[in-house]
Each structure stands twice: as structure tokens, then as C-alpha cells.
Symmetry: C2
Subunit: 388 residues, 2 copies
């Protein structure tokens, strides 16, 4: 509700080139059995895996593994991890990777000691969490989701083609997260810019809703401007530590629960993208980008003052002698041009969508919406716009 | 260090018209003995005292009191509270009031079980905290200091005329803070605008330092703009809930440890003001205001690009055809005009400073500084500028 909220975010952030030095002292706070959760193996190539395993061994820990957690983490993988945790009385789940790995780690945490169909209970029906959870911590290697400092967990039921999200309460948030911007230097450009649009989308989903005047909106504009500025530097110079640091921190700040305080939110772009990627397994940020442009073109007139503000405050659009529509559309155009400048994907065709999939996506996504509640026909139209 | 930090802020915030409803469930987490810390009695007049005492009694708590905690809370009062805590094995210190009361409550918390000269050890020498502390919680009735969501505690040794600050680690932060903007409706305008300049000063002390490009600077600009906007509304319409909410939240966000991340900081204005109020007992925010204007006039040329940015981003100064000096000075002038528009005090004479006190203030304040490290002669000159 407006100006009526509860906020707490207890995650401890260790940020910087030497952030990993904090792992050893932190590990003293947890028992012996550690589940190391990670992805497809990039952390083995770049040496982070070896460093982390060394520290775990020096700390006298027993290491269990749940690996090959892929983008759009699968329910089956989560349940596999949950079984390891339960069977071995794991004391800490240490996620090393990007948002998918951390999301999956939280899923493992809440599922290990849950009864019944946990996906249905917690992700579909959003039942209150009522079982023991296992502490989670993270070492972040890719930015975008903000999962390192929140309770969010997006899990895909690949059999039934449902990608569902859940935001768990603060005791499921990572206890600590280690953020070393240097770890992101080697992320391929495609993943890097996909992550950056994910951040932008988080900001816009929280910004484009409500007609109130709210400190959170000003904070979002600030993060947006910093992100644009640092992205332009990082694209030319991927090992620019300052720019990668700002992008990493923008990502965390965009979804750690602060900039949505007192605000209505939208999230329809995310709902559509979830089903787009449930059917195509596309990169999340790219899917968001391809949907956002036609989506905002369609809804802007329902919240025109905020889109005018977006154009002026975020993109410095000169408003002199222009109508509100012109200013608002110029702002959306700046967003599109920025996406193209960054080689982001603005068309769902390129992401693997096909004409027969489009109605399936439109028919299965959640209906939300900030300035405009869309019906399925409108979503279909937006998807078609993005297919051209 | 730049882009190298540790951050954690575990305080739980209950914000809104019904925020006090959360007190009763929260009290279940603490033992029976509560020290109620409050100020000069305004909470008795506006009914908050009775409401809180009712809830404490309904919860079966034993109430102890430390009252008459005045602005610029005194060391002697803090030690009096610490004795009550120790003698009675208090389980929770509940501060009801503004920053002075909360600062004092934290001081009581760390002092109750400390050995030796606690003021010297923790506030002057900044020794590491190494004794048990008692949990603190707060119910905020006046905004400005941000004490409701940080570890800051400013205590005045009134005998030796030393006002000293300390930032304690997260386990001293309020466990929970109850923020109901309606409680601030009845704060007299003098205190209200004093608190608002305190917020502005917190933002500027963190902003005017460093030449890096930093997400934190963008966040500060956002908070600043929201604060200016809502202040103008609240001055005309003090019971505007939306405006008072934004001001309250700007205050918390300005000093909860987020907007300083990765940044160098200044704090010289605060150091000078601490000694100004040690000698005059002036309202903190008014003291900051009276010092800030001549201070920034003096130091701007050492960080001119940031002052140009301040003018353009925060005050929308048009930069066309102007020199950097002109733009920077126009920004400072906007700050001064805003202070005057709000009836803030811009002259230390009005705050009780006298010609004989000025050298004493200059000679006893800490030396800090962001863009320029000042010597005592320069501080003397700035104080004289503010006396005219």
C-alpha cells in the first residue's frame, strides 16, 4: 500500500576485488556440511571453483555438490538438490554463479524439508512458508537478477512449461553474498547485455505504475542513469572495474526491495517473458527486451505523465514545443536505441519464438499490469509486434 | 575504499499510519523488562506515550523509564540510563522520540556493560566494541538524523564541551523501528525544517567528495530532489501525509549506509556544527545550515565538477553560456535560497554564537574534509562568514 510498508533486508554484502577473503571467516558461523551449487562449469574454467573448494577444505568442511544448474533453473534440478540437503543434513547451501544458481539454491533451501508438491504450494499458490529452511549464501559471477540480496526464486517446470516466481521472506535471503566485479569481466557480451536489460526491466517494472509522487521513483531514475552511463563504458571496455562495479551494484539495488517501497508495481513484461522462455529457453534479459519495446508502446498512453517523466529525467529528452505523446514516445525510442546500441535482441523471432508458439505464450502467462491490465488478445498483439 | 565495501543493515522498518500495530507482536521476541527512553514530554502531550505504555502493559512487560533526554543528548543522561539497564537486567531499550533519544538509547546499550571511561573509549578513541549490548528498538516521532536505521550515536560531554559521534556495528542498530509519518505532523516548523536541513547535510557530506563516477552519487541526487519537492509541499501543508512520508523516508535513506557505499565522504560541516552546538546548544540542523553556505562557498573550487553537477542535476540550473564557476555558485545560491524559503537559519549569530565563542569552536572541532582539508584559520574564517 502507498506509504505503508514493512522492510527488512539482512543480507550481508562483501563487495570488491578481495571480497572472497571474507568467505573463510563467514564459514565459521555454519556447520560442517556444505552444498556447493553451481552451473554449467564456467567457474571451473575461470578458476573460481578451485579457489572456493580450497577455502572450504581449509575450513574443514565436507563438500556436497549440486551442479549443472542451467539458466531458467529446472524444478527437477531443484528437487535433486533438495534431496541431497535432506539426505545429508546440509548446514549451508553455497551458490556460486549467477541468478539462476542462486534462485535454485533458495528453492533447494525451502524445498528440502517441505511436504507435498512444493512447486505448486510455494511457486504457484504462494502458500506461506511454514517449514525449516537451510541457510543460503552466494558468490556472484554474473549480474542481472538481483538474487544475491533478495528472496526471489524463479523456477521452471520444464515438463508443464510453467516458469513461476516467488519472493520468500528475509530468512531465506542469502546470509551473505560475495560480489567481486572482476568475476564478471569474462562473462560473454551476450550474457552481459542480457543481464543489463534485466536490471533495466526490474527498474521499469517498479517505475511504470502509480501516479503518486514517491522517493522510490527518484531512486529508480538515479539507478537508471548510473546504469546507462556505466554500460556505455563497459561495452567498450569490459574490464573497466569502476563501470563493472557500478553495473553490479545497480543490479543489486534494483531488486533488493528498496526501490519498490510504497509503490504499485507492474511486472507484466516479466510475466510474458517467463512464458516466452518457458517455450523457447531464451536468455531472460533478451526476452524482456524484445517484449518491453512493443509493451511500452502499447501502454504508455495509460500512464503518460510517468512516461514523459521517464523521457525527461532518464534520457534527457528536450520537451520544448512537444506534446506529451511526442515526449513519451521519444523516451521509449531512446530505450530502443540504447538496446540496439548494446546489441540487445528486440525481436522474439530471434529468440526462437515461432508463429505457433505465440498464442501458447499469450494464453499461459500471468495477467498483471500497472497502468493497464492487459487481456490475452492485447498480449497476443504485443507478441506479434515483437515478432515482425 | 572505492568499490570495495562491506554492507549490512538488518533493521526492520514498519512504516505507515498503522505501524504501531507491529509493536505488540515484536515485543514477544524480547524479555520482560523494558527501558522506555524518551525526551522532554511531547510524547505525553500528543498521546503516543499512553499508547505505547498500554501496549507494553498488555504485553505483560515491566516498564522502567529514562526520560528527559534532550536534544544534543548528554553523557550524564546516557550514563544514568546505562545504570538503570545494568541494575535491572533490562531486556530491551525502546526509544520513543527523535534522533537524540535514539542516539542516547544506543549509547545506553553499549555503555551498560562497558568497563572504564566509555565516552573516551568508544566516542573519542573509537575503540572496537567488545562488550555485551542490550537490544534497541525505536518509535520515531521526529525526522532528520536517520538514527532509526543505523548505528550512529552522537553524545555531548556538556562539562568538557565535546560533542562526539560514533557509528556502531549492525548489532547495535535498532532491531526494529516504527515510522508513522502522522507522528511528525505536530512537530513545530522550526524543528521540522531543522530536521530537513540535517537530511540535506547528510546527503551533501556524502556527495561532495571523490572524483569517481558512482551509483551512490546518482542515488543521492534522487533523494535530494524528492526531498526538495516534498518539503515545499509540507511547508505549506504540514499534514500532507504523502509529503511527510517522503521526507521521513528520505531521512532514513540518507543515512542508512547505502548512499555512502564506495564513496569518500566529507563531514567537516558536521564536525564544525558539533562544536558550535557544544557551545550554544543550537538545533543541529540549523547549525548545519548556517555553516554549510559559507563552507561550500569556500571549498567549491576544489571540487568544481561535482558542484557543477549538483547545480545542474539537483537544482536544474541552466548551464548554457556559463562558466563552471558561475554554474557551481548558482547551485550553492539555490541551496541558500531554498534554506531561506524554508525559514532555516543561515547565520550562527542567530543561533547564539558570540565573537568570543568563535575561536573556541574553531579550535576544538575535528578536522576532516572532502575536497579540501581545512586548517583552523580557514574554519575560523568560515565561522566569521556565518556570523555576519
Amino acid at each position: 500500500m502507498k506509504f505503508d510498508f514493512t522492510f527488512q533486508n539482512p543480507t550481508k554484502i562483501y563487495f570488491g576485488r578481495k571480497a572472497l577473503e571474507n568467505l573463510k571467516p563467514e564459514l565459521k558461523n555454519y556447520g560442517k556440511k556444505i552444498l556447493l551449487a553451481y552451473g554449467g562449469g564456467s567457474i571451473k574454467k575461470n578458476g573460481i571453483y578451485d579457489k572456493v573448494v580450497d577455502i572450504l577444505k581449509q575450513s574443514g568442511k565436507e563438500i556436497y555438490e549440486c551442479n549443472n544448474i542451467l539458466p531458467n533453473p529446472a524444478l527437477s534440478k531443484m528437487l535433486e538438490g533438495a534431496k541431497i540437503v535432506k539426505d545429508n543434513n546440509i548446514d549451508l547451501i553455497l551458490a556460486v554463479g549467477g541468478g539462476s544458481v542462486i534462485d535454485c539454491a533458495k528453492g533447494i533451501s525451502v524445498s528440502a524439508y517441505a511436504e507435498g508438491d512444493v512447486f505448486k504450494r510455494y511457486w504457484i499458490n504462494h502458500e506461506e512458508l511454514n517449514n525449516n529452511v537451510v541457510p543460503v549464501a552466494s558468490i556472484l559471477t554474473m549480474v542481472g537478477t538481483g538474487s544475491e540480496m533478495n528472496g526471489g526464486s524463479v523456477i521452471s517446470d520444464t515438463v508443464n512449461k510453467i516458469k513461476a516466481d516467488r519472493c520468500f521472506p528475509p530468512h531465506v535471503f542469502p546470509k551473505f553474498s560475495i560480489l567481486n566485479p572482476e568475476y564478471t569481466f569474462t562473462v560473454p557480451k551476450y550474457q552481459m547485455v542480457s543481464g543489463i536489460f534485466d536490471i533495466m526491466s526490474h527498474l521499469m517494472e517498479q517505475y511504470f505504475s502509480g501516479d503518486d509522487d514517491n522517493t522510490s521513483d527518484y531512486l529508480i531514475e538515479g539507478i537508471f542513469k548510473s546504469l546507462i552511463h556505466s554500460t556505455r563504458i563497459a561495452i567498450k571496455d569490459p574490464t573497466n572495474y569502476e563501470a563493472r562495479s557500478n553495473i553490479m551494484w545497480c543490479s543489486t539495488m534494483a531488486l533488493n526491495g528498496i526501490v519498490c517501497l510504497s509503490k504499485e508495481e507492474d511486472w507484466e513484461v516479466h510475466y510474458i517473458e517467463h512464458q516466452l522462455s518457458a517455450y523457447t529457453d531464451c536468455a531472460h534479459g533478451m526476452g524482456l527486451c524484445a517484449i518491453s519495446i512493443p509493451y511500452y508502446h502499447y501502454i504508455y498512453k495509460y500512464g503518460i505523465d510517468k512516461f514523459v517523466r521517464f523521457a525527461k529525467e532518464v534520457w534527457n529528452v528536450d520537451d520544448k514545443g512537444k506534446s506529451k505523446d511526442q515526449i513519451a514516445l521519444e523516451g521509449i525510442d531512446c530505450l530502443k536505441k540504447f538496446a540496439e546500441e548494446c546489441s540487445m535482441i528486440t525481436n522474439i523471432k530471434e529468440l526462437g519464438a515461432t508463429p505457433d508458439l505465440i498464442p501458447k505464450i499469450a494464453n499461459t502467462c500471468n495477467l498483471g499490469g500497472g497502468y493497464k491490465k492487459l487481456n490475452r488478445d492485447e498480449i497476443l498483439e504485443i507478441l506479434k509486434q515483437s515478432y515482425q
